[in-house]
Symmetry: D2
Subunit: 335 residues, 4 copies
């Protein structure tokens, strides 16, 4: 199978889900190799590059796309299998942006306090060691951390003529900032408009759960993705499947509602997978869920509810699509 | 070293942190072997035992204690090292209690909807297989799950004359329902009153993160615990240390505040452990925290912020107390 | 001055702020007389008309507009002075929509409980008595309530290419459901795009604060509005001025953040009006704010922070525009 | 009828609801004239008195009481009719306390930002003009505001052996900071323990809704109160009745839950007052509630849901007790 490549020019960067014309048409089954710029549009390259001077707010978190998927219609599910994520630069950046992040007052969690001092950290990537290095700004610490590439953002166009900033995680996916969106995972997204119009970006060379300060080790990324379509099967909120787990991602505020959304979705999924009654699914989930927080910094917060396959009976989601995509991915010989 | 035993009579069950006279005096260094009843006071023994008929609300979640620790004063830290947790019955119980749990309206998340149907599940414990078995109430599913014993509740008396229900997780510990409170872990709690007055209970034979329905596999437990005291070192919110991680536990509503509390505490702890400036600690935490949700069902919600030791420089907390307690625990030859 | 009229055809109904082409161009100073359909698109006309059968979700809350205001640019403030609001039908409707409202679980405050029963109430309007009548659905009560017409929704296009459902209250205005948006009030909205692109609708013949069940006495409305533009003066969040008070409206979740947004804005406004330092403004607001809740049912909740002019020194906002508009409105001889 | 007086010595100040022995026994029907110190224990007397130097945290908000009411048992309702509130000093104080208040990060809404600068404002009381004067700290503004005395705190002992700081508003009343608790109002509180054990304090010479900075115009107060008991009628959350309205007060976090609690309670009360079905009560409340926010600064936030008597059919709550107490109060010839 061919892998078609796409690198957007800066003029092609998409800053919303919805409201943007497609850059390409693709077909179910296609493999794409996509370059995405980092969330800062590559503008933070040294510790002296501060957000207020270098960023053109709110034009951050540029997405690569959208792609029009032939045959996709509302009520279908788009499956995006991440074959590989390769850091496309030798450094990543993270920064404290004034009034943005989880441990500061913000535009919405408003206070009268001044912002935290703007600070930028640059993480050098060591490809042989597969590490990025944290260098403290106010002391001499250097700490090597493993590279664990992921995509902060992947989504489709929302329904009903809406267009949302790529900074927002929502029902349509978007800026979920979930470390589980990594190579080997399949992301399922409900299709809201003809062609689905998916985009992706916001590569992170690594990110802790919660993404406390609001910016991960942000880095340009080359993503190889297999595109599939499940006709006639809706997916109400984003789901992720990998070899080890089924996952639902809820995004809302306050954070408990993100959890409620994802838990309800997983209980519904248990119904599909195992023919479990919702109350029994609720009980079973109570005893075996893993619940890693994804982000506490975006306009909505995101929480992952995860069910380990090893604890559950054998089952296939979406007709066994994930296993199938894993095989096709292996055949690609990428990553 | 001797291990002294204590099993409370039902009249000795403590239902608050604070406001209860100590059952025993202990000394730093003591090892205790404590029996605790389950959160239902043992009243749910079959699927026909429904909460509204069997429970004497709000007298649930009985604690074993409080214990007066000689020499403990406000401003100290109490360290409780969990040597072993042994299920003390051959079954655990979980139940849907009307208007309690995460996927229902509650006393506070009030709605006009009727409650979910009361339902009780009994989990048989297989000691040889080290499993408990989920038996669906509305179909024929049986799913074996590994036993992973933990304590839902451990805490000290609050400050300033307060007394809080054992159902509440707070600054003083309490009903955090964090699966990380298990054998091999050291729990650090700030002392608020002379003698600290700690209690523990709420054994869970296993629990998923979030404790979705509000009740885990609740079971009577025999807990062996080593008691230590760190004089003159305060601990503002509960912390947990095990061989793999440092952890802070925040409890509040909405859930993002539980995360904020724990993140701020961990950043402060990074300052102690590594002499990292708070902004550098914030950045480092952003890239490496694990954030498993503990509970989304209690009066406060609890979130664990976890820092893996393997990713960080070598460091000792509280003068290396955890490693020391591990050795002493091994010498006990228990569990 | 002429008053130009506009009544949209159903094909012209706007269901988003942003993403819709203008229906008319208007100039600062223009007076418009606008008909708007009710939030149900007129589909609920008897107590037997239930939402799930009659509504074409999510195509509800149709807006009249958008209007392109000549000369409006980002950074300006649009002022909309409501000269009169006249009920355009002889009845209003309110309805319990499944999983929508404040006293039910919802799409986001998710639970496993079934929805409340769908119910529709029709309120007959008595023009001579200026009342609408509540008729209980499950008993014989009839209670006459005064007509107090207001607009639930008024807003401009959001920034940065976004388009949001007309069900959402946000920084750009939208579905604030604030009873203070009534005849005699001036609404100030920051302009985000050329032409401002304002729309309005969602007439309520009356509404309690909070809009508990999610739908007020929804009714078609004829609104006479004076359009003005304040060049070069930004307005970060919606504000309302009437003869008695200055008001800021915050919209977010959780509800305390809606309050924080509005309070911060009012403190900033106090700085403009009185040259008060922010901390003094904070103190003054503490002792004299009125804080009526607007809605607890929309995707964001809205809170009004209100400062009574009678308690404060004489001052003029936006160059005395409100007083000027009041005079111009009187000269219109409408309403 | 005699009015018995009580002024606590500082050693008698109560800092919790629950856990404190009664200072007096009283009988239903008794009239009491009670002096209460201000929330700062009188320690802030000039603008140079800053909280961190003068306050003995957490020993603030001292209550006068508790009073043991003869015959009061769990399941009864205590009615406290406020006959008069008289400022007991010629000045009130308000202060910014570090990390306390609504427009700052706090202990729970944690951030890494430094606190706002400590500042104290002193409000001189002019008894002839019935005003207090705001004097800006950073400019020359002086603004006279009407005295509107109220009690920030009134409550009973909680159930089940709990004891809560007097800073907390809860189901048992406490620090609701609702301006509606003023002369002429009757406060209804459910009795949780024998004798009810009510206390009151936290006089405010005036307070805006929301109590933005966390401290009102705090002043010592002399309160004349009539005590009554309604046997066998429970009151689940605090209610207030005055000549104009029935009110329910909810206290929780996030703020929407405070509203939900109060709305559900009012719908239940509508059932008692008018035999309205809950869904009809929900609908009626939707169209006529007033929802003033009480506080957004305490450990729980408080919201008042208010139903104007003028809009509703004639009805009597608690057997017409409020009207009766009004008459008895008039006969006292106080205030």
């Amino acid at each position: 199978m061919d892998v078609s490549e796409f690198t957007p020019s800066p003029e092609q960067y998409a800053f919303t889900f919805g409201g943007v014309a497609p850059v390409r048409r693709v077909r179910p089954g296609d493999a794409l190799r996509l370059w995405s710029d980092d969330a800062f549009c590559g503008a933070l390259r040294s510790v002296d590059d501060l957000p207020s001077a270098r960023l053109n707010m709110p034009y951050v978190n540029p997405q690569t796309g959208p792609f029009y998927v032939e045959g996709a219609e509302p009520g279908d599910t788009l499956a995006l299998h991440l074959v590989s994520l390769e850091p496309a630069r030798d450094w990543g950046a993270s920064s404290l942006i004034p009034f943005f992040g989880g441990m500061t007052s913000t535009d919405r969690v408003a206070s009268l306090q001044p912002p935290l001092p703007e600070t930028t950290w640059i993480y050098e990537l060591d490809r042989s060691r597969q590490t990025v290095t944290f260098v403290a700004s106010r002391s001499d610490h250097r700490i090597e951390l493993p590279v664990e590439p992921m995509l902060g953002t992947v989504g489709v166009a929302p329904a009903a003529g809406e267009a949302h900033s790529s900074l927002v995680p929502e029902r349509f996916g978007g800026n979920m900032d979930a470390p589980q969106v990594r190579a080997g995972a399949t992301v399922y997204l409900g299709v809201n408009v003809e062609g689905a119009l998916f985009s992706l970006g916001d590569g992170h060379y690594r990110q802790g759960e919660g993404e406390a300060c609001g910016t991960a080790v942000e880095g340009a990324m080359t993503t190889t993705v297999l595109v599939e379509l499940v006709k006639g099967v809706p997916t109400p909120w984003p789901r992720i499947e990998d070899d080890d787990a089924w996952m639902s991602v809820g995004s809302s505020r306050p954070m408990e509602d993100a959890w409620r959304i994802a838990s309800r979705d997983m209980i519904g999924w248990f119904g599909d997978l195992f023919a479990l009654d919702p109350l029994d699914g609720y009980q079973l989930l109570t005893q075996m869920a893993q619940v890693p927080v994804a982000n506490v910094v975006d306009t909505n917060y995101s929480v992952v509810v995860k069910a380990a396959k090893s604890l559950l009976p054998q089952a296939s989601a979406y007709g066994g699509l994930h296993a199938d995509l894993r095989q096709r991915a292996a055949a690609l010989g990428v990553g």
